[in-house]
Symmetry: C2
Subunit: 306 residues, 2 copies
């Protein structure tokens, strides 16, 4: 266990123009840990209810995800999200959210996790993100994810999380919202001022940007003819990134760029099927293949006007 | 003269959150020819009125733009667009459109232009684009631009233009609209079926995509702290591309990629000031500098999971 992932473990019912799944494995910690499992040894801190299926547990175990930190509350039910997507599937519409046992979730970090050098704070209440951080020994790297809901309701607490993060992962709309600006470079500059080494701006099908204090990297998404279900793409992206970083020998600019490659590849496989169906069954060669595609798709030949 | 550019020459009044210009030089052929002038020898086919200022003529001449094809209708007034942008300036709002002499514009290609090997069909009525093509000797390469208005009102005529183009330049929203799909790779596939060698999808601040039959290239835009006026960005982009292609020795995949680099650089300078102020005063070193930035910003390090 070298990567602590704090977040939700859920049961999802999802409908898209290309199909439907009921009671499928979901949640930010689930998607992230499965994506990270190809690179690192993740352990989850989360909570599920007595209804959480044995086969979900087995899938996570099979992927090498440590479950000591996954609390099973036999008296409650697992967090259940039901939603749908339309058209370009750019937006998730919620039908039902039953927080169930997740409503009173309080991250308790098992002793064996407290020295984990890498931490992914999934998208949960920033107070819980801070609570998780308070329980661990000084980690090497903390990546925090968030969402518009916390930006609107808890900006001050979120700022505290940002001050303790090494990487902030946020989407473009959220960056505009938090920084009250219409310029991404300006938003990144403001977020960097909180102290993180890098800001990652997620832009969905438009790819992702990596802003450092003196560096900039832009990576497109993999063009896909068919997207079946975008649920979990952002979590798979974050999991791929931190997973890759956790297995890298050094943390230089190229390593962070490779982290984005890993995240982008995992997100691209994630959306090609429902739930974690595809990301849980990948071969290393498939990951390498898409990473090579990204290199090919972005190659800028030398240019000199004389 | 090795590059024929057909399009509008206009007078613009533009207001953005960062300022305002009145009666400034504008129009698709203007922006495109100025951008192309750094690479090729463009000539314009368009029309202006008797009010068209001498200083605008002089600016175009100074940039080496051939004006034999620019008709000056002394009895009329120049096409005048007045508009404004707000917030992230993603959308232009029109206050006034006075077509004036442009209303009865009929492209007449001067004899000296008819053998031009490269042609840019700016965003005008597709019937006029076809009329221009009917007057020229078989060119080496035709790039056509268009807009949502023609897609909605003249889809059949536009399809005829697409069938005669080597490159279609279209923005993402227009591609969705024309192809009735929510998938860009699918839209590109449909457009390629009309026969062009390449489809270029413009995505504004998210950059541009180049789809070939068996190739794909994604290029981001240059991140800018300040955008003063987005007017003409798309035309400068198209002008930079075709200008670069017109000066290239061969037309292989890397040449087309470099074309996108040239277009992206010209668009990035265009939006940093009003009208053609910045694109008309560039040094070659400035163009090379931003081309080098694009290479640096997109470098994907090798990635191999073993």
């Amino acid at each position: 266990m070298n990567l602590l992932i704090v977040g939700s473990v859920a049961i999802d019912t999802v409908e898209t123009p290309l199909g439907k799944v009921e009671n499928a494995l979901g949640g930010s910690a689930t998607y992230a840990s499965i994506a990270a499992s190809y690179f690192a040894a993740p352990g989850i801190v989360g909570v599920v209810g007595g209804d959480f299926s044995r086969k979900h547990i087995n899938l996570l175990k099979r992927k090498g995800v440590d479950l000591e930190g996954l609390k099973i509350d036999r008296n409650g039910k697992t967090f259940h999200w039901s939603g749908y997507y339309e058209g370009d599937m750019n937006q998730a519409f919620t039908r039902k959210t039953h927080l169930n046992v997740f409503e009173k979730f309080n991250p308790i970090i098992p002793k064996s996790y407290r020295k984990a050098p890498y931490i992914l704070l999934g998208n949960i209440h920033p107070a819980l993100q801070l609570e998780a951080l308070a329980q661990v020994k000084k980690p090497r790297l903390v990546l925090c994810d968030t969402m518009n809901f916390w930006i609107a309701s808890e900006p001050k607490l979120l700022e505290k999380v940002f001050r303790r993060a090494d990487i902030i992962c946020i989407n473009d709309g959220e960056a505009y919202q938090f920084c009250k600006t219409a310029s991404l470079p300006y938003a990144a500059k403001r977020l960097l001022a909180f102290g993180p080494k890098y800001i990652i701006i997620k832009k969905g099908i438009h790819g992702a940007l990596l802003f450092g204090k003196n560096s900039f990297f832009s990576l497109p998404s993999i063009p896909l003819m068919k997207v079946k279900d975008p649920t979990g793409a952002g979590d798979s992206f974050a999991g791929g990134i931190i997973g890759y970083l956790a297995c890298a020998r050094k943390l230089d600019e190229n390593t962070f760029r490779r982290g984005l490659v890993a995240g982008t590849v995992m997100a691209s496989y994630c959306v090609e099927d429902f739930s974690c169906r595809k990301t849980s069954r990948l071969k290393k060669t498939e990951i390498n293949k898409r990473a090579a595609l990204l290199k090919k798709y972005t190659h800028v030949p030398s240019f000199k006007l004389s």
